[in-house]
Amino acid sequence: MRKYLTFFKIRFANGLQYRAAAWAGVATQFAWGGMTLLMFWAFYQNGKNSFPMTFPELSSYIWLQQAFLALFMAWYFDNDIFSSVTSGNIAYELCRPVDIYAMWFIKNLAVRISRAVLRCMPILIVAIFLPKPFNISPPASVISGLFFLVSMALGLLVMVAFSMLIYISTFYTLSPLGIRILATSVIEFFAGGIIPIPFFPEKLQTVVQILPFASMQNTPFLIYNGYMGGSQIFWGILIQACWILGLVVLGKILMQMALKKVVVQGG
């Protein structure tokens, strides 16, 4: 465990080096969030009744999305991992006394968390003081707030567990490029990254809700703003937990099979 902690620290300090990048990231996400809200505002003016949630609820959703973008960004993949597989250097990693699945998992967690920690505060603080109804509201209730935190942690695990499958797929395809772009757009869309899932057509929603993508950012953010309440919270978190279990088990099995192949072929 200690080696992972040291690793996390190095990554974190490394992330801080890029001061301008951090500021620029905050500014970008801020502008992005603002523009998104203005777009929804235009639609809201047009048909208030067709809006699936209240506008303040949507504002909260969008600002959470921007603040914790780094946790759930679909396009982030570690290039080192891809190249270690395609170049065959993975053979060296097999010599070390670490579980590769765990190692990669931690690595991804570390990067995502360190980026998010740097950027979430400025965005949240400014978002609080924005004029109504464009500001972020406090959690719908204390319970919502608590479960939001739990659910966000679970969502991050789902996200990383899913991206592990993409890494592992490189063992089989040997060319990460295409599948990576493909995965990015699918995750982004079905996770509610482009428009929140409640804006999807009703019938589609019921299907999308149970896909793993909805268990990433969708569940925690909807718990926070109160769109999901009562037993829905329970079910949302249960689905998240199931997906973590399923994805990790699947990932481990696929990894094992892939590594066996590598060993047999001698790298």
């Binding site: 890029y18 990048a21 970008t28 777009m39 235009a42 639609f43 295409g178 869309f189």
Partner: protein, 258 residues
């Protein structure tokens, strides 16, 4: 120009060496654009119209922006990877060759996989042009062409600024994405829906509305003001300050060597 085509052919041949990757990336690019389209479809499915614009009208606007962006991206995105060109010393190589630096940078990175995105734009145009209820007289066709040219120039200008900043710092470049990728993402709707302030900013500071919103109004017959039709040409002028900034960047590079 001939030289540029030579570069293009050599890069295309290079990229074709990895056919699977090339095809997958093109499909991927197509899909990225497609999900954006799908999201927009869902929105209109729910709301029917926004600020009085119908789905097929907005689609036309979206198609123009996307086409202009992907054209610019295909041919000008050399600037996008420019920080890499500087840090790996490739720019030194460019400087010891007797040709214009911009041409060489442009030509050194032509991204043919963006064809996927361009294809998406063309498909949407094909769908939107007949369904938009625009009577396609010659002036309307001219407007559409001007919008594409103007859009190409504005996005190119933005990419050039993006690259010029690399001469001074490679940190914080992410900010420019608001205008490049943001321009593409938010340019799918007529700029006016974002409100007065945004419209003003995107008219006078970063002239995205000049090729998008105003001529679009003329296109769908919201205005008869012919001036609106020619506003995209102002977008072409936008290139001038961008190129000037580039020159400043080169001078800085020459004096610091980094």
């Amino acid at each position: 120009m001939r030289l540029y085509l030579k570069y293009a052919s050599i890069i295309l041949r290079g990229q074709m060496q990895y056919k699977v990757s090339f095809v997958m990336s093109s499909i991927g690019q197509f899909l990225v654009a497609f999900t954006t389209f799908l999201a927009m479809y869902f929105m209109f499915n729910r709301f029917n119209s926004v600020n009085g614009f119908t789905f097929s009208e907005v689609l036309l606007c979206f198609a123009v922006t996307l086409a202009a962006f992907s054209l610019a991206e295909c041919f000008v995105r050399g600037f996008d990877t420019f920080s890499g060109i500087i840090s790996n010393g490739e720019f030194d190589r460019i400087m010891v060759r007797p040709r214009n630096e911009i041409l060489q940078v442009l030509a050194s990175r032509i991204e043919f996989t963006r064809i996927g995105r361009l294809l998406q734009a063309v498909l949407m145009l094909i769908y939107a042009v007949p369904t938009s209820q625009v009577v396609w007289s010659s002036d309307k066709i001219a407007t559409l062409v001007l919008m594409l040219i103007g859009g190409f120039c504005v996005f190119s200008g933005l990419f050039i600024i993006y690259a010029s900043i690399c001469f001074f710092t490679i940190e914080g470049l992410e900010f420019m994405n608001i205008f490049t990728d943001g321009g593409r993402e938010f340019g799918k709707y007529p700029i006016s829906i974002y409100g007065e302030g945004v419209l003003k900013f995107l008219t006078y500071v970063v002239p995205i509305a000049l090729f998008q919103y105003y001529p679009f109004l003329y296109l769908i017959g919201r205005t008869d003001n012919v001036v609106y039709m020619f506003l995209p040409l102002v977008g072409v002028i936008f290139l001038i300050p961008c190129l000037a900034f580039w020159e400043i960047g080169i001078r800085h590079y020459k004096s610091t060597g980094s």
